[in-house]
């Protein structure tokens, strides 16, 4: 029950922040709308009327994967840096729920809000262009959420480093670039790449939705296990770094 109240609090915080910085929010919407319109019109212009929906589906899935992966990867580190700059980080550490739970819920709520925006933009773009796609969004979001949990784990590792070193933007940048390559590696049936974070999930979402590949249940369990492993590893490293930050009195400083 307490976890639900924490989720509600983080959801409200996101809503209040979006409302407070309305100009920035609207600009974000605008950019996302332009990207979607670019995808729809671009495909139509290049491929003409003979193009099937596959190319568009592929681009859309790629976009959702990319945005969600970036969000998951950078969320905790960015949150820790900004809370530290504001002076509110120590207050989060005063919650008996634990800062790790708070940052995890922040990451999940950010992802959920992102899905809501993407869905809204997608339907607006489809209505605007008159081109309706047939994508199972529920499957897409569930799979993206499941596979990006591994990146949330990596983000916790980065967040832990952020507690000590504060500025980690450059490392985040390198990881983001690396991620582009990871998204296109072959994973099924099990290749060594499948053990990397996010890779198996990303490939499954792309092939499942765009090419209609059907995967066995054990493969989904493998993806869940992969995500869980990196998440637990991330939380463990975060906890170690948090302990070190407490020892060095680095928690409230920026």
């Amino acid at each position: 029950m307490k976890m639900l109240h924490l989720m509600a609090a983080e959801g409200k915080m996101l809503y209040w922040t979006l409302r407070r910085y309305l100009f920035n929010t609207l600009m974000g919407f605008g950019v996302m709308f332009l990207i979607f319109m670019g995808m729809f019109w671009g495909i139509k212009t290049i491929g003409g009327t003979g193009v099937t929906g596959d190319s568009l589906d592929s681009m859309l899935v790629g976009y959702v994967l990319w945005v969600s992966a970036m969000l998951a990867l950078q969320n905790t580190g960015t949150e820790i840096t900004s809370e530290s700059q504001r002076g509110t980080l120590e207050q989060l550490y005063l919650s008996p729920m634990g800062a790790d739970k708070i940052f995890f819920v922040k990451a999940v709520m950010n992802m959920v809000f992102n899905f809501i925006f993407i869905t809204a933009m997608l339907y607006i773009s489809m209505a605007a262009t008159g081109r309706w796609m047939n994508i199972n969004l529920l499957y897409l979001y569930a799979m993206v959420l499941l596979s990006t949990l591994s990146l949330v784990g990596i983000s916790f590792m980065m967040g832990g480093i952020g507690l000590i070193h504060k500025r980690i933007g450059s490392v985040n940048g390198i990881l983001s670039f690396g991620l582009i390559g990871l998204m296109f590696l072959p994973t099924f049936p099990i290749t060594p790449y499948a053990f990397l974070p996010f890779v198996a999930g990303a490939a499954t979402v792309r092939n499942g939705i765009v090419r209609g590949h059907v995967y066995p249940v054990w493969w989904y369990l493998f993806i869940a296990g992969n995500s869980l492993l990196y998440l637990v590893l991330g939380l463990m490293i975060f906890s170690k770094m948090e302990k070190k930050a407490r020892r060095l009195n680095k928690m409230g400083q920026y």
Partner: protein, 310 residues
């Protein structure tokens, strides 16, 4: 005798070559406001953060309501609130009410459970009219009041307040003091407070700790401290600012300090009063006012620190 709420025993914290806390021990009783005084870098904030478990100490023990901070930190936090970085502890892009809702929410407390308390805190801190406005626009005093409300929202029985009046004017400091005294009386809170504002500490605390270089050098009630270091001074307001030669001459009769056109003299004996007047007369300095004053907590604090240094 009231129950012990916080027990700090032989606390040691070191950073490489620096000893931040050197075996400090003290208790805080339920329902009291204990003040911690000390120069910058003396270990006041480190002590508060150690009690909250935000800093991991090297040796010693801390118990809050009989629970060990090292072993059950999260359990302790259920009953403790704190302000550590003043008004920076809250979200300035939100309103006071949104902050209150958020800080309760991250403790797993729903809106409904705190709505009455939020109204009470906003009302008593005179924030009701601005409850839904963005904090960024507020004065420092109002921001500090919001931070206080957030620390009290989940009704903790223990509050640790680090410099709650830092950078605030006299009026706001007094408002905060009165509010804290009122809430301690009404709700029986226990408060551990650090401040450089001696008047504030003197008027709010019964007992104070003085820390210097990580060691407790005084741990007494304000009353006994004042009795122990009781001094009487003569304060004189002169027509113009005294020259250093005049101050040198007066210093042969006792300790002297000057602030603008006012000088404060602690004479070794009252018999020195006549020579003092003579010096002023010979210096052709017009005396505008003359009265005896007792040393205040600030004088005592400086004396305690000085004694320890010597």
């Amino acid at each position: 005798m009231s129950q012990i709420c916080i027990r700090v025993k032989d606390l040691v914290k070191t950073y490489k070559d620096l000893t931040a806390l050197n075996r400090i021990s003290f208790d805080v009783r339920a329902g009291e406001i204990l003040g911690i005084l000390g120069p910058n870098g003396s270990g006041k904030t480190t002590t508060l953060k150690s009690i909250l478990g935000i800093i991991e100490f090297d040796e010693g023990s801390i118990e809050v309501n009989g629970i060990s901070v090292k072993r059950q930190r999260k359990e302790i936090l259920k009953n403790v609130g704190a302000i550590l970085e003043g008004a920076r502890n809250i979200y300035w892009h939100l309103s006071p009410r949104e902050n209150l809702t958020y800080f309760a929410g991250i403790r797993g407390i729903p809106d409904k459970a705190i709505s009455e308390r939020a109204d009470y805190l906003l009302e008593s801190l005179e924030l009701s009219d601005v409850a839904d406005k963005e904090i960024r626009q507020f004065s420092s005093g109002m921001k500090q009041k919001c931070a206080l409300a957030c620390a009290f929202i989940y009704n903790p029985s223990i509050l640790l307040l680090d410099e709650p009046t830092l950078g605030l004017d006299v009026e706001i400091s007094r408002t905060i003091r009165d509010w804290l005294l009122n809430i301690v009386e009404e709700e029986g809170k226990t408060i551990l407070i650090t401040s450089h504002n001696m008047d504030f500490i003197e008027s709010i605390c019964e007992r104070i700790l003085i820390i210097r270089r990580g060691e407790i050098i005084s741990h007494e009630t304000v009353k006994s401290l004042k009795e122990k270091f009781a001094r009487k001074y003569f304060r004189m307001d002169l027509e113009r600012e005294p020259q250093s030669r005049l101050l040198d001459e007066i210093s042969t009769l006792g300790n002297v300090s000057a602030s603008g056109c006012s000088i404060k003299v602690e004479l070794e004996t009252v018999n020195h009063l006549i020579p003092l007047m003579k010096i002023l007369h010979e210096a052709d300095t017009k005396l505008l006012d003359f009265h005896t004053v007792e040393n205040d907590l600030e004088d005592i604090f400086l004396e305690v620190i000085r004694e320890e240094t010597e």
